[in-house]
Amino acid sequence: MQQLIFGLANGSIYALMALSIGMVSSTTGIVNFAYASVVMMGAMVSWWLMVIYQFSYIPALFVAIAVSIVLNIVIYETCVKKLGNLLDNVGWIITLFGASIILDNIARMLFGTEPQAFPYLFGGKMVTFFGANIMLHELMMITIAVVIGVAYQTIIKKTRFGRAVRAVAFRPATSELMGIKSEKIILSCFAMAGAVAAIGGVLIAPITFASYTMTYSIGLKGFAAAVLGGFGNTKGAFIGGFLLGLIEAFISIFVPAGIKDSISFVIMIIVIIFLPGGIMSAKIFNRNWSAAEKV
């Protein structure tokens, strides 16, 4: 039971990070390679506020969200928009990697290289749940991730804004003819992705400790989860995230901790080989699929 909750809790963060990647890539086709640094920045900024300025958890979280939103918007304006037509170039691969390296090094200079202990929500209070000791923080991680996931899907499916997001993802030029400002929609997707990245970073930091290396230790898991669920598929992101978390939790019972991390990437490679479109592209999920476009 403990492993199950632990797996789901970590999985929920992988899911949030995969969602953050998916929000951007589903509307623009861009893989935001700098997103992991935004996750890390969210965690580091809130650690700094909590430890140095004695903020409590929730206000620190909100400041971190604001900082990450601004960061992601700046990343979009400087690394993506300036390149012009995205169909014509792949320069964003390099600029986004560059942004990631810059952010990591800024974090190292500002916050030092030591991994820092990060406080838990509710002061690390434990509850007993089916005979297992579980930290309230872990339950909150799962709850928050599920709430964000459901909220995002509802917004995308039901609202005027969501319709516009899907329209821009499919036909940016035609969307302009509807009077949708494609630019603004893309910018708001980057902003939302930044907020989600920060929440993920702040929630997982107590478990992994906060340091500038989170970019790689945690960030890459987000990519693994995104690939697992199918890139740009925001529902798949959740399935990929939770699956990855559970697999890791149960595998860690049998293999030494050092190898645990490599497992997620072995799984990612296997999925890419056999299901290049992610788990959600498997036939059993697509029985009624008929999007053949008639032009």
């Binding site: 005027r160 319709r163 516009a164 899907r166 329209a167 499919f170 036909r171 030029a173 035609t174 969307s175 302009e176 003819l177 509807m178 009077g179 949708i180 400002k181 008929s290 999007a291 053949a292 476009e293 008639k294 032009v295």
Partner: protein, 235 residues
Amino acid sequence: MLKVENLTIAYGKTEVVHHVSFDVKKGSVVTIAGANGAGKSTILNTIVGLHRPKEGSILYKGEDIARKAPDKLVYKGIRLVPEGRQIFPEHTVEENILLGAYVEKDAKKIRDRMDEMYDRFPRLKERRKQIGGTLSGGEQQMLAIARALMTGPDLLILDEPSLGLAPIIVKDVFKLLTEIKQTGVTIMLVEQMVDNALSISDYAYVLETGNIVFSGTKDEVKNSDDIVKAYLGNV
């Protein structure tokens, strides 16, 4: 209504439309005919703001709109039904229609217009929960037109509305355009297959490699043997 003067459009350094001028009078139907690559779609995309002209002016109701953003022009009442319909294939029919009214804030107006569209296009009402990609070509064209009418435009521009449709459905489309004209909407058409288009037009321009080579009423076009032979096939 729309007065295009000395319009020059370029992609990078390549000029594709050279000093073109034409006029669309209020309440009329105007066709721009011409072969592939003549610059027809480029002109339309420039009018609706997807592309910026190199030179010249586009006057709409007396105001120069040559460098305005597409959403501003939707507010002003110009709507383009793009080439190949370009409906949103993964949105439902109803969502497609709602996207057409994206700039409209008044929920009641949206509902009234949607009812109006469903009255006019019963097929779309039947299929409103279906995703757009599953519609037939003709239904997609109806959807694209319904979507454009959702903001109650004054000037409706259509880029090759007959493209890829069966002749019998093309007849329906042009019958529909005649009905739309009767409600006071000015219509501008671009076509390669001009016989149907000319039959509902008041005035026509013939475009060849970025230049207007002929203009006149539909009878003048039909009576001009050289033009018909050179550019339009059998009319």
